[in-house]
């Protein structure tokens, strides 16, 4: 039981369960999934679909954060991606042709990849601090997206493209299949190869990693590129969702949601050890949270308040201090009677453990 309690996914999963239970109490049929025309329908399915773009962005964000970085530009990249794809489809004489759609997707992804390359260049080659380097694209990127759409909300009708938003594959929403599929592949690659460890080493001590022959710079560059690419993919899903490219609003604040997903999942923003499974749960928590607000009929006015409370609760419960409390209780049970219980349990804040990183982090 105690090991369960100390597992790094315990609190995020608990948060998810609490949210689902709350929804089910408010609405007993909440978890019901029905099959129609061989497709699954229902709130859980909706949640999977709405999680999809966030999951992709959070995936890239996790890798970037592992290298001690952060990518604030993902929201803008989402907007650019939709703008490029939909402008291409809209300007083509035959929006329903798969070739048009594939070209549009390819164009968008390549451009977003390049935007990622740009971020990576600023960070890894020019050595600009990530938060500022990506702030540049965060600002300019939306401008670029508007430039592409000429400030209009570009809308299209294209059956093959619409599949990305509301189509079904294998009975599940195509967007969810795509996002979870990409996530699984990346997670597999990162953890089954040495990539994860090398990223962590880069994030913890770039100088030592370089001397050990780790291509720190290339790795750093790569994660920003990946983040751009995943954000681009997310942008396609988001624009296909409404079949509109809204340069101003598409992906607005998604960077914050993604960072929150990463943090709720137990990855420290100070880089190093990261948990992709945590990010997955984190993204689900956020998507479910948004849904909960509507289902519980919580006034939209207090939505941010509700968000804040959940975030504070999860992060406090996950904080080193709270974990020590749990450890301390265990230790007290373990220590023989008569021995003096520790004054301040475990290492005090002044212990040699670096307070910015969580030593108990476990990787996925």
């Amino acid at each position: 039981m105690r090991d369960v309690l100390r597992h790094h996914l315990f609190w995020p999963v608990a948060a998810l369960v609490v949210l689902l239970v709350a929804n089910t109490i408010a609405r007993p049929g909440f978890l019901a999934v029905t099959v129609r025309d061989g497709h699954l329908f229902g709130a859980p399915v909706d949640i999977l679909r709405t999680t999809a773009p966030l999951l992709l962005v959070a995936l890239g964000m996790t890798l970037v954060i592992a290298t001690r970085g952060i990518d604030l530009s993902v929201g803008a990249v989402v907007a650019v991606s939709g703008a490029v794809a939909l402008s291409h489809i809209a300007s083509s004489p035959n929006p329903d042709s798969p070739v048009t759609v594939l070209t549009a997707i390819a164009l968008a992804l390549v451009l977003c990849l390049l935007l990622g390359v740009w971020n990576g260049f600023l960070v890894s080659v020019l050595g600009i601090q990530p938060i500022i380097a990506t702030l540049i694209l965060m600002t300019a990127g939306r401008g670029v997206a508007m430039l592409i759409t000429n400030g209009m909300i570009t809308t299209v009708n294209s059956t093959p493209f619409k599949v990305l938003g509301s189509g079904f594959w294998l009975g599940l929403p195509a967007a969810a299949v795509l996002a979870f599929g990409v996530f699984a592949v990346v997670a597999f690659v990162v953890r089954r190869t040495a990539l994860g460890m090398l990223l962590e080493a880069t994030g913890i001590n770039p100088a030592a990693s370089r001397l050990s022959g780790v291509r720190s710079r290339t790795l750093t560059w790569t994660v920003y590129t990946a983040s751009g690419l995943f954000a681009g993919l997310a942008g396609l899903l988001i624009s296909a969702d409404t079949m509109a490219a809204d340069a101003n609003n598409a992906g607005l604040f998604i960077e914050l949601d993604a960072i929150l997903a990463v943090v709720i999942g137990g990855t420290a923003l100070s880089g190093g050890k990261f948990s992709l499974s945590g990010t997955l749960v984190g993204a689900l928590v956020i998507a479910t949270l948004e849904r909960t607000v509507t289902v519980l009929g919580i006034s939209p006015l207090v939505t941010p308040l509700f968000m804040a409370l959940v975030v504070i609760a999860v992060t406090l419960l996950q904080s080193p201090r709270m974990r020590e409390r749990l450890t301390a209780r265990r230790r007290q049970v373990a220590t023989p009677p008569g021995s003096r219980p520790a004054a301040g349990p475990g290492p005090t804040p002044g212990s040699t453990t670096d307070p910015t990183t969580d030593p108990t982090e476990v990787k996925a």
Binding site: I131, A133, I136, T139, L269, M307, T315, P320, P355
Partner: protein, 335 residues
């Protein structure tokens, strides 16, 4: 971002041994100053009525609240932290001010309350960050949501301020020829002076720098790390509250959606002013210059007058880039 500075190689150290008269720590600020001057010159030659006392006065009048936010942010960033909540806290303070004034409370009661709201939120951040070791980015992100939620709870709609005493305070202006100085500019300048004095002439201020230089070291040196860190967030929160007051004076209203993204402006200003996000180096005066640079970018864009909204965004991005690159070049030449 609680990242620690990259390990210093022995070579970097030798570079610093070169004899120089001007302290290298001032170089980034100087760089910002040079760029600011350049922008003024370019603007002055390009547009009519640009290099006028009215425009320069406006620069300060329009950005007084941002200056106050940036000073608070400087404290936090110097400790190696960050405060994402300041935009929302500013909004909260405007809403509290407007709502309480509307309810008929006297200005003398309302002003301290509005500022205090920021102080309390700052304190909460400090406690979360220091005692629960929640990362600053996350703690203040939660604070950002919290403050915004409170805004909506108090009043979703924008509330006008008609209180005569408040209006009088807001419209107080001192005119020197073409130059104008409003009460908010005066307050902002006082805050800057205070910030400077506290950072350079108190133990608290020096401990802020020490923590940024290495929290672990500061602890082992026996410095009051806990108190100082918490206090830095209290300062930032308080100044955000005060910033809200200035903003309420500026807009004569309280609105829950105000200041969205303003924290990024404040952070950008601090960074442009030469403060490192890793903590330990930087100056309040640099942050003030950073705010002026951002303000001047806006001014230039309005003077240009033909930019569609997308070009506005792209131009801001490009200018930010040029700025960061310039600073980078400057700091590379240092070693």
């Amino acid at each position: 971002m609680a990242t620690s500075a990259p390990a210093r190689t022995p070579r970097a150290r030798r570079g610093l041994r070169l004899p120089t008269r001007l302290d290298r720590r001032y170089l980034p600020v100087l760089g910002t100053f040079v760029v600011l001057a350049l922008m003024l010159v370019v603007g002055g030659t390009r547009y009519e009525n640009f290099l006028t006392p009215a425009v320069i006065s406006n620069l300060f009048i329009n950005n007084a609240h941002l200056i106050v936010l940036a000073v608070g942010m400087t404290f936090v960033i110097l400790t190696g932290g960050i405060d994402l909540s300041v935009g929302s806290v500013l909004a909260l303070s405007t809403v509290i001010t407007a709502a309480l004034l509307q309810a008929g409370l006297p200005v003398a009661v309302v002003i301290p309350l509005a500022v205090l709201a920021g102080t309390v939120i700052g304190l909460a951040h400090g406690v979360m960050i220091h005692y629960f070791q929640v990362q600053p980015f996350v703690a203040t992100l939660a604070g950002m949501f919290l403050a915004r939620g409170l805004c909506f709870l108090i009043a979703p709609e924008s509330i006008g301020i008609a209180d005569p005493a408040f209006i009088e305070l807001a419209t107080w202006v001192q005119i020197f020829g073409q130059w104008r100085m409003t009460s908010s500019v005066l307050i902002a300048l006082i805050v800057v002076g205070l910030g400077f004095l506290v950072l350079h002439f108190t133990r608290f201020g020096r401990t802020v720098y020490a923590i940024g230089g290495g929290e672990q070291s500061a602890l082992l040196m026996g410095l009051p790390v806990a108190r100082t860190k918490v206090l830095a967030y209290v300062v930032s929160g308080t100044f955000a509250g005060l910033g809200g007051l200035l903003f309420a004076m500026f807009s004569r209203s309280g609105y829950s959606l105000t200041g969205v993204g303003m924290e990024l402006d404040a952070i950008a200003a601090v960074v442009i002013g030469g403060t490192l996000l890793t903590g330990g180096t930087g100056f309040v005066l640099g942050s003030v210059l950073g705010v002026l640079v951002l303000g001047l970018i806006q001014t230039i864009i309005t003077f240009e007058g033909t930019l569609s909204s997308w070009w506005t965004k792209i131009v801001i991005g490009v200018l930010l880039l040029i700025f960061v690159l310039l600073q980078r070049v400057l700091s590379l030449r240092r070693t």
